[in-house]
Symmetry: C2
Subunit: 347 residues, 2 copies
DNA sequence: TTGTAAGCGTTATCAC
DNA sequence: GTGATAACGCTTACAA
């Protein structure tokens, strides 16, 4: 604090009333006579008094802040989510602190088990990378309301807003199959077993192949440590060297797909003529890519607003039963999986 | 709070010591005998005691939180900045709350003048959209340390980390001129006078044209309300209808440029053969676009770490003289402004 | 080295 | 309707 703060007491003194009365005026308590109210208002104005939220918090136990915990804030999916969460939170009177786990398992645990200054927040919105099982194994601090994001099947112990990743992936691959593609590769599997999203999307990929009666070709599955453009580029380059060459690629994220498209383009191949590409997330970048990127859209505004609504309710009533909400998704076909009629002109 | 919190007093009681001693142990005060320390540690463990950061804050006046105020969090430039700010803040022991002004002038004022719960934060990192003059006109609350981001010339009243927008824009346009382009359009000017960045970039654009002896062609300057892909697309479409058609476009942001490239592509024109395109920000998306997007790179990690450093110092010593730091930038030539090797007969 | 107690600026429980 | 005053949980003189 740069200079001594003006307190309730100062105002009370200036207005010639008690702190109780000033507090009443500040918090719009109804039973204050108009004359007194006016005098207090004037004193507040004169002294430029601002209530100290910390002191208020200590008394009320409410900070008015939520924490949003994501792996990273800069990938478009998460920054879009953050934007929607911040906006939704504002509608409920909350502000949002953002923390990044950096895809670090231990950091997730640390943030969740309340190692840090968890009490600074009225509630937590948490987008985990680890699986259900891993998460339940951690002894999550029960002292702070928590809503989980993005994970499909929890056991009802927590509120959560989820995507059906298995189904989303299956629909994406089925879309490629319906195009007549038969050699369908996937980018984004994970070597480690503890991460949830890649497992589910891989599972959807396998389901779709099985339904179509296709074999799984190990060389068609490229794992990637992150869901970045760079990883997509490298993985696609690797796929192009496989014989027979894939005629379609399902990427576990749009960023991977963007990278893959660049690699395919640089190799002198055409999209979708030679290789069709589809991603997941439906980020705006894909709409403006040329060819534009087909994707599975995920309703982030819905996820954000439902999650904040659930969290606000949980804060107000810690004992109410938990809710599980499924966010809608749908395949958005664009040029990268268009039925091949004319050249895309992308080179 | 879901259940009654365990307090210092509870621990003290359990360990058979005074709260003072427990507090000493918790805050690693050196002069505590080993036996007592062990006993206290044990009691803390047993009771699962977590210090209440709010109470600590009320005493010390420090929350350990910074606020980052940006127009929007989801454009890549700002989400990248946020990521770097969060990381830099963590190194100084701070966490970061993010607020969006939504490009709203009044909201900026409200956040800055401390209308809200400003005291919750030890300091503010503020990326303003309004000009210097507008900002100084607001009576910014002096009660909270403030570092400004992205604005070039303030009068030294505040700490700030800035980009030389005029120079960055001039270099971008000069790069186009050096390519031999003569009909150079610009996308991103603003009809309103109070926004800083567009004014500066427009000014750099004009300077470069003047140096080259080119006239300003009013129809070559397209204003846009936001720096989005959609605005870039629409603006470029508008430019393509102008005669004579521009042979280069300088976009005030990479997002605008991405949109413009899509429009040019959709019109059946080639980049850079028919029209060269350059943006500002050097977002990763531009590297993976095809053709890849030339841009002016801005050193966001530098901006973030310097800004946090300045803010931390300001918090520690409110009276020290302010610093003004200029972040480096440089033109990154890519395919969208590559020297044209194909025969075109165009110039 | 450790205990006692006085705040930090609110809100809320009593009285009057 | 308004005034004292006791918390909220912590840090930190001041004592011991």
């Amino acid at each position: 604090m740069l200079r001594m703060a003006v307190t309730l007491r100062d105002v009370a003194e200036a207005a010639g009333v008690s702190v109780r009365t000033v507090s009443n005026v500040v918090s719009d308590f109804p039973h204050v006579s108009d004359g007194v109210r006016r005098r207090v208002r004037q004193a507040i104005e004169d002294l430029d008094y601002r209530p100290n939220p910390i002191a208020r918090t200590l008394r009320t136990g409410r900070t008015g802040m939520l924490a949003l915990i994501v792996p990273e804030i800069d990938p478009p999916y998460f920054s879009g989510l953050a934007r929607n969460v911040i906006d939704a939170a504002a509608e409920h009177g909350y502000r949002v602190m953002i923390d990044q786990t950096g895809h670090d398992h231990d950091r997730e645990r640390e943030l969740l088990t309340g190692g840090g200054r968890t009490m600074l927040f009225d509630g937590l919105l948490f987008s985990p990378i680890v699986t259900n099982a891993e998460l339940l194994e951690m002894k999550v601090s029960r002292s702070v309301p928590l809503v989980l994001l993005g994970e499909y099947s929890f056991d009802g112990q927590y509120d959560h807003v989820a995507i059906d990743n298995v189904h989303a992936a299956r629909q994406a691959v089925t879309h490629l199959i319906n195009l007549g593609r038969t050699r369908i590769a996937a980018i984004g599997t994970q070597p480690l077993e503890q991460y949830s999203t890649p497992l589910q999307r891989a599972s959807g990929y396998h389901e779709a192949l099985r339904s179509a009666g296709f074999d799984r070709h190990p060389a068609y599955q490229i794992s990637s440590t992150s869901y970045s453009r760079a990883d997509g580029y490298a993985a696609a380059a690797q796929l192009l060297a496989v014989t027979p060459q894939p005629d379609a690629i399902f990427c576990f994220s749009d960023l991977l797909a963007i990278g893959a498209m660049a690699a395919i383009h640089d190799a002198g191949l055409r999209i979708p003529t030679d290789i069709a590409v589809i991603g997941i997330d439906d980020i705006e970048e894909g709409q403006y890519a040329r060819p534009s990127l087909s994707s599975v859209s995920i309703d982030t505004p819905f996820i954000a607003s439902e999650a904040v609504r659930l969290l606000a309710a949980r804060i107000d009533d810690p004992e109410s039963p938990t809710s599980q909400i499924l966010a809608p998704h749908r395949v958005i076909p664009r040029q990268s999986t268009a039925v091949d009629t004319e050249p895309t002109g992308n080179n």
